[in-house]
Amino acid sequence: MTTTIDLVSYEDALASYDPVMGLEVHVELGTNTKMFCGCSTALGAEPNTQTCPTCLGMPGALPVVNATGVESAIRIGLALNCEIAEWCRFARKNYFYPDMPKNFQTSQYDEPIAFNGYLDVQLEDGETFRVEIERAHMEEDTGKSLHVGGATGRIHGASHSLLDYNRAGIPLIEIVTKPITGAGERAPEVARAYVRELRELIRALGVSEARMEQGQMRCDVNLSLMPKGAERFGTRSETKNVNSLRSVERAARFEIQRHAAVLSSGGTIVQETRHFHEDTGSTTSGRVKEEAEDYRYFPEPDLVPVAPSREWVEEIRASLPELPLARRNRLREEWGVSGTDMQAILNAGALELIVQTIEAGADATSARKWWMGELARSANEAGVAPDRLAITPAQVARVSELVAKGELNDKLARQVIEGVLAGEGTPDEVVDRRGLKVVSDEGALGAAVDEAIAGNPGVADKIRGGKVAAAGALVGAVMKATRGQADAARVKELILEKLGVTEG
């Protein structure tokens, strides 16, 4: 575990090897009840309060399939362009672990509900990469172990463990890609883009909030290298439970460098599971899989087969929402932005906020401007996602409306937003309380302009002489005099008017 290896540089690694990836993503479904019993799935309850004989694996208790869980699985399968099984069974995956009450996990084995699909994902430069989907299958989550007394919360060195079965039986969908080849140096980026696209898809389908930081979506990154041009895959490592988009990319990148280091020094890759460490960006060895673990799968005799009728599948297909990539492409055209801009919006987590702001009445350009500018900065400074800011899309739309009406200028609008974020009330309340209206009283404004001309005769002369650009200095003086509460464009008009110059 403590052996350090000298990594090969990323560029050198890619010069000699082609990476092959397999991504396994587990998604906790947002059903109200568990997969095989009626217990609540709500997060945050006291340990072991959301349990019953079935999810505790009590002698005699039996499972019954959650129909909403099956429907969610089909929705995901259809959105991933998969075929949906006409008939499939659950299977028992047998292994002993204290957080699994029955000592087998009810899962699916060789008869997944959905199979043979693909997901198109967009890379940073707007290019599209197709990831082939092997299968999506239904299973149940395990309970949670809390290892007490050890150094890192791992079982090693712990004095005892506590078990919470609230999570046991929560429905999971496991989505497995086919081997991803041909991504070359972009493999880590593809991994990240895939997980993100999948997350967007899951959210759009309304089957889960897919919050990675809460463990609602977890990714295993399987990676191997083969010499450039080879066709036979190398031995893979399985980096388990990578829990953020950034980590998915870093884990893939690290493993490419580590594998290359081992292989180029004549070593062999051990098939094993690995843990990813956020702090160092590296992985360490978990358990070695000398031979494939024998889970003794067999069809679950306590459950009847799942046989979704074709009519039902088509009903579900017809009810699918517009999928994220198609929607992004449509919005991109409607808003007239580039692919890279769209990626930036997505990266900032601002897409839905912009859409909602437009829906609340703002025009696309200003909605985008606020969320990608002022608000993105505020979110960044506060270290939160923009949807956690104390301002709603409707409020942003109101600010943008006030600007459009000429009641606020940009500078004032920024102050209004600052006030809303600080909890001073709605945009209109902030405008009132801070007295931020643009000075539109032509008389007062005219007086301020006269004053500025009188105070800056040199500048005035230049303008009269045709140097229109010099008007900026006079505008600045007027703005200063009105404490920023004037409409700069109107001020400029007045100056030119008074000096008898027309803008050419």
Binding site: P53, A61, L62, V64, N94, F96, P98
Partner: protein, 497 residues
Amino acid sequence: MTEIIKLTAAETAERIASGELTAVEVAEAHLARIEAVDEKVHAFLHIDREGALAQAREVDAKRERGEELGPLAGVPLALKDIFTTEGVPTTVGSKILEGWIPPYDATLVKRLKAADVVILGKTNMDEFAMGSSTENSAYGPTGNPWDLTRIPGGSGGGSSAALAAYMAPLAIGTDTGGSIRQPAAVTGTVGVKPTYGAVSRYGMVAFSSSLDQGGPCARTVLDAALLHEVIAGHDPMDSTSIDAPVPPVVEAARNGSVAGMRVGVVKQFRGEGYQAGVVQRFEESVELLKELGAEIVELDCPSFDLALSAYYLIAPSECSSNLARFDGLRYGLRVGDDGTASAESVTSLTREAGFGDEVKRRIMLGTYALSSGYYDAYYGSAQKVRTLITRDFEKAFEQVDVIVSPTTPTTAFPIGERADDPMAMYLADLCTIPTNLAGNSAMSLPCGLAPEDNLPVGLQIIAPAMKDDRLYTVGAAVEAAFVEKWGHPLIEEAPSL
């Protein structure tokens, strides 16, 4: 007046309903009988005297208030210790669940309570229902009331012994490979394995999920039918439960007849290993059926020869997975927890101490049969045999209405005789296993005593799936004819203990 304990369930229910007897009197008579003879028989693992009397008092109160009573209101019942009972110990005959008090009632138990049946206690059984003699119980064997040195059958030996010794007029069994029918046969009582899915398995501790089926045990065909009707029916908590009306079993039991019926006799259910007296009583039963107007059809079901082998791959495979949950961490026995031991070591020590030899044997067999590389050869092939057996039954039922056979090849054998010979023990279920594999229904009822040992012989009647009523139509006719021939029910020849 006949002694209370000798009444049938139907008679008991009638007398309670009419006020001739109170439910409390009936419960007390049976509890007194248990007290008097169960020390010798050991049919019960747990007697719920308080619970039984409370339920009986409730029945009497209901009657006094003029409320409607269930069809078996106040009738006492012996419950196999494989069904969970809220607040009452449930051991499944195993040390590993010693002291476990379930927090919930099995669906079957809920139905019994709703029908005002009085549950006297929990009966002895082979550990986890694995066995044909009740000798595999971790709590000691049960004696056969016909001869206490002999086995009462298994796994439900406690339930059948309780019936034969008049400790209860009704009992519940479960049948994975014959555990209702073989005990019924060797104790001279009636036992029915309903169609798979007819009786909810929710709260029935699993041995082999795709084979396990709860069912009624009684001293008469009609009593079994009355109980069948109470416990059968769809249960949303068991997804393998049949969502269809229960066949009209009580009506069938009241209208026994075989005239014009085609009755099959299967070639594969005879040959070596069958005791002469068993064969003799079986052949006499076939003659009786003819006399009653049935047409006898010879059947060839070649796949039945493979049934025992297939069963001993499928049942252990499922059990190896079903019993994995008994790890000492959440309930029941826990061994080796000294505060420093790992969970793995506690689980290992608990299982070592908590499971008996037969259970360990089957867990190992099943674990092996499901292993990668062996799955296709063992579990996979066994499933194919299962399909063949189902097809043989389907073909057979194109030609006949029911099939008859001996229930088990021999009468009750002495306790200890086969204890060290698992293969000999497994042969006891030769004729009952095909029905479990195919999922259809079957009954065992008494057809006489074997001349060589004066012990009961069982006649098995097999019907297609969902046609459980046919068992009762034929069974009631055969029972009536035998009673007429013998002048009394066979059970009356049992020693009085």
